[in-house]
Amino acid sequence: MNVFQDFKPLVVAFALLFVSITVSAKNTKYKCCHDFNPEAWFCDLCGCSTSSGSFGFGTLSNANFVGVRYIYQDFESRNGIFENSPKSEEVFNTYQLWAQVPINDTFFVTANVPYQDLTRNFQGNKDNLNGLGDISAIGWYRLQFYKKKSSDSTLVDYNSPKEPSGHSLQFGLGVKLPTGKFEEELADNVNPGFQVGTGSFDGIFSLGYNYGGDKIGVNTLMSYYLKGENKNEYQFGDQFSYSVNLYTVFLSDKMNIMPFVGLSGDVYDSITQYDETLQDTDGNILNASFGSELAIEKFIFGASYTLPVHQSLFGDNVESKQRFSVYVNFAL
């Protein structure tokens, strides 16, 4: 209780900060729609989205863990400015070390160290780019709600611990570091935006609501990415990510099985370079996903499959096909 009171002003400030940022994001003008910059989109998708809130930062049960995650993503993009321009296929393989580490009862940190392995296939020519991606870390404050004590009780029982209601709010504040190399120029036959990182420092602001009951649970998360400018004066558009996952719990002696379904999405603001907005570099995508976690003793195995429901990425020049992820975590 003392801890909570100590942090009350901080929590309020945090919430205000989040709200103000979200509001300013809504006021941003979105430009439409007859032009595009093929340099633009790649990095947003490869460098950021795999560390994005729409992928989730942790496990369904919000357990603390260290683990590894593999993400497969498949895109198709138009290689030219015309309707009949040839298409290229891009496959992003991401290998992540990720963790959720507790600091105390109310604070924890999530971190994500990705390795990117990107392949682009255009008319039989394959280009490959790999390397360390952008590392991100988020500090979280968890506000746990407790059940009300029964009102008819005349006895105040000072000894019994408060009973968690299962509802909680989480406030996250983090950074994404430019640890992935943003290469200024790649050969002409390689898409210049085919990058493992954005080259920028980004701020991450997150707000989550979780409910974990005996039988079902809900995880929701909204994150705002305030993107910085990289050394090439290239600034990816700010990004808003959201996700909702519903899961059920099947308990048995040996294991817990938690199947889930979810919706997630990202909204990208336009990219700016030299303080000018680049046309058709904004976009949005809504995904549906399903999967399951399986907890056996200290190990949590997870798999999920995601398909786009609606998308309008970068003047429709880019199409997300599907994504798939598997992970193995060791609970702390």
Binding site: F7, I81, E83, N84, N232, E233, L278
Partner: protein, 266 residues
């Protein structure tokens, strides 16, 4: 707990400061600095990339296919954000844009070297050869005379250059696969069909010693037949050569076919 509070406060500061960048290197003195500029010409029919041998429909129930598609571009100049104009050196400032020279994306590149470093917002070029250049005489044409001859972009010295050359076949409601040849140019000094095109750029381009921006220009071939005015093969526009009536109409249409689709900065 205090330590945590400070850690968070520090984190907030770090994020806020890291997200505001002020190292604007755009306004340094650029005097004497030069760089390259690439123009990418991309021929289209409407929203489709132009492809040789494809049948394209036009108005009046007519269609066409092309086997040759070239045009002459000259007097390229760019204007910076302060209104200063950079004209590419005259002797090198003439190019043949030939669809057959396109890369695998169908783009024909014109590379301008030693362009003054500046922030450019507008481009102008001429379609064809202007009277001053023609007046320099055969000697004054430099290597371009030979190039134009090899490329079939000359009638004779007296008649002069073909500014555009479209060869192929056409069909109408009444005929099919008849030869189509649109060879538009000036005729000596008597008929001037040289036209200029000025386009503002959707984003400023920065030419620097270490930055080579690209201007991606879409050329919509459909506008040649339906630009400033609509022309039909059935009305004699299947064979356009040195005619004083038809060539200016084609020239006016060709002038409308260009659009800066987008630009790239490094």
């Amino acid at each position: 707990m205090k330590l945590l509070k400070y850690t968070f406060a520090l984190l907030v500061c770090a994020i806020i400061t890291s997200c505001s960048s002020d190292d604007d290197s755009n306004n340094k003195d650029l005097t004497g600095q030069k760089g390259d500029l690439i123009l990418k010409f991309d021929n289209a029919v409407g929203d489709q990339d132009f492809i040789f041998g494809t049948t394209y429909n036009k108005s009046n129930d007519e269609s066409f296919q092309l086997t040759t598609l070239k045009y002459i571009v000259s007097n390229i100049r760019v204007k910076d954000n302060e209104g200063n104009e950079f004209m590419y050196p005259e002797e090198d400032n003439i190019f043949i844009v030939n669809e057959a020279d396109g890369n695998n994306a169908g783009e024909i590149w014109v590379v301008l070297t030693d362009v003054d470093a500046a922030n450019y917002t507008e481009i102008t070029f001429g379609l064809g050869v202007d009277q001053e250049r023609f007046a320099l005489g055969a000697e004054g044409q430099g290597d371009f005379l030979d190039l134009a001859s090899e490329e079939g972009m000359m009638w004779s010295w007296a008649s002069g250059y073909k500014f555009v050359r479209f060869d192929g076949t056409f069909s109408t409601a009444n005929v099919s696969d008849e030869p189509l040849n649109i060879h538009m140019g000036s005729v000596g000094a008597s008929l001037d069909n040289y036209r200029e095109i000025t386009m503002s750029l959707p984003n400023t381009i920065l030419v620097r010693e270490d930055k080579t921006p690209e201007i991606h220009i879409k050329a919509d071939i459909a506008k040649v037949f339906n630009g400033a005015s609509e022309i039909n093969f059935a009305d004699g526009y299947d064979q356009v050569h040195t005619d004083a009536n038809t060539t200016p109409v084609v020239a006016a249409n060709v002038q409308t076919m260009f659009e800066v689709h987008h630009v790239h900065n490094d």
